[in-house]
């Protein structure tokens, strides 16, 4: 039988998530320029990790599940990184010699 998690851990996780939601929502009313996006993403990633660790029991599970969880996100990063590599360097072509 797998170990059963105490309910208070779940309640604490949910409260933390709601707090992070309140944080990202309120910060959105402050004009931080480019940092708005970075901050919003940072909070979203934290919330995702918290959900994965506690609600989805990644914490304390087999290493192969860690790999499967990370693999999807890693491959999405490959897709986004190399495609942005194309879009960001399009304007760099100097008129030639």
């Amino acid at each position: 039988m797998e170990k059963v998690v105490a309910p208070k851990i779940y309640f604490r996780t949910c409260i933390a998530l709601l707090a992070l939601l309140a944080l990202t929502w309120s910060i959105a009313y402050v004009d931080l320029g480019p940092f708005n996006l970075i901050f919003a993403l940072a909070v979203a990633i934290t919330k995702a990790i918290v959900i994965a660790l506690f609600f989805m029991h990644i914490k304390g599970s087999r290493r192969i599940l860690h790999l499967a969880a990370i693999a999807g996100v890693m491959w999405l990063m490959i897709l986004i990184a190399l495609t942005l590599g194309d879009y960001f360097t399009r304007g760099w072509v100097p008129l030639s010699h």
Binding site: M1, W25, F55, A68, A69, G72, W75, T83, L84, Y87
Partner: protein
């Protein structure tokens, strides 16, 4: 000479015959589900890529368009899904401990919050429809660059629509499981299906955790 393992005969009924024991079956089910969730990440990923590129290309129109979305409804929806994830996690725990009636109530509670999410979403879509923000023939945009604003709303409806379909499927599964749990199918350690549905539901929650800031909080409000 190699020794041969005797056929395992004293295992519970619900262990499928290709598995040797319950742990192997449960591990296989979890690994299979996590691999499926990786495919879902990439399935939504195509839309996240389109969002990323067009946000960097048409940043300003995205900010104006995002301000037209109702952040109050979006925020409450996020809270609704987070709480539904809590109920789902407690449900999985109840299944592990074989508390049948608690399990049924928690599954129904999660499904109910899912319906609340969908109804808030319906209200939002209705408001957008009334304000002529649905891309297509009667899209209206008074600010600069109506075409790129239409692009933002197309991505908005594509992402939230795909997510809504997943939530609807999730609700359907939860109701079926609640019925089966009521009939006592998940007693005696056979809670693998509940756990799998829990993983799926938490995944839907994670997707919305990303959708909310990226769509509703583009730039500052």
């Amino acid at each position: 000479m190699s020794i041969l393992t005797s056929q395992v005969s004293d295992r519970p009924a619900f262990v499928a015959e290709q598995f040797d024991d319950i742990d192997q079956q449960r591990d296989a089910a979890k690994l299979g589900m996590w691999i499926f969730l990786a495919t879902e990440v990439l399935f939504f990923g195509g839309l996240f890529l389109a969002y990323t590129i067009y946000r960097f290309t048409y940043g300003h129109v995205f900010v104006d368009a995002s301000r037209r979305l109702d952040v109050v409804l979006g925020g409450t929806n996020t809270a609704v899904l987070l709480v539904s994830s809590l109920l789902m996690a407690l449900g999985v725990r109840a299944a592990q401990l074989d508390h049948r009636r608690l399990l049924v109530r928690l599954l129904l509670g999660t499904a109910f919050l899912g319906c609340v999410f969908m109804s808030i979403k319906a209200v939002e879509y209705h408001n957008d429809f009334v304000e002529h923000l649905v891309p297509g023939a009667h899209f209206e945009w008074k600010g600069p660059d109506p075409h790129n604003a239409e692009l933002f709303f197309w991505i908005y409806f594509a992402m939230t629509g795909l997510h809504a379909i997943h939530v609807t499927v999730g609700i359907g599964i939860l109701l079926v499981l609640a019925l089966l749990a009521w009939r006592g199918k998940f007693s005696g350690g056979n809670y693998s299906q509940i756990e799998i549905t829990g993983l799926y539901w938490h995944f839907i929650d994670i997707v919305w955790v990303f959708l909310f800031p990226l769509l509703y909080l583009v730039g500052h409000r």
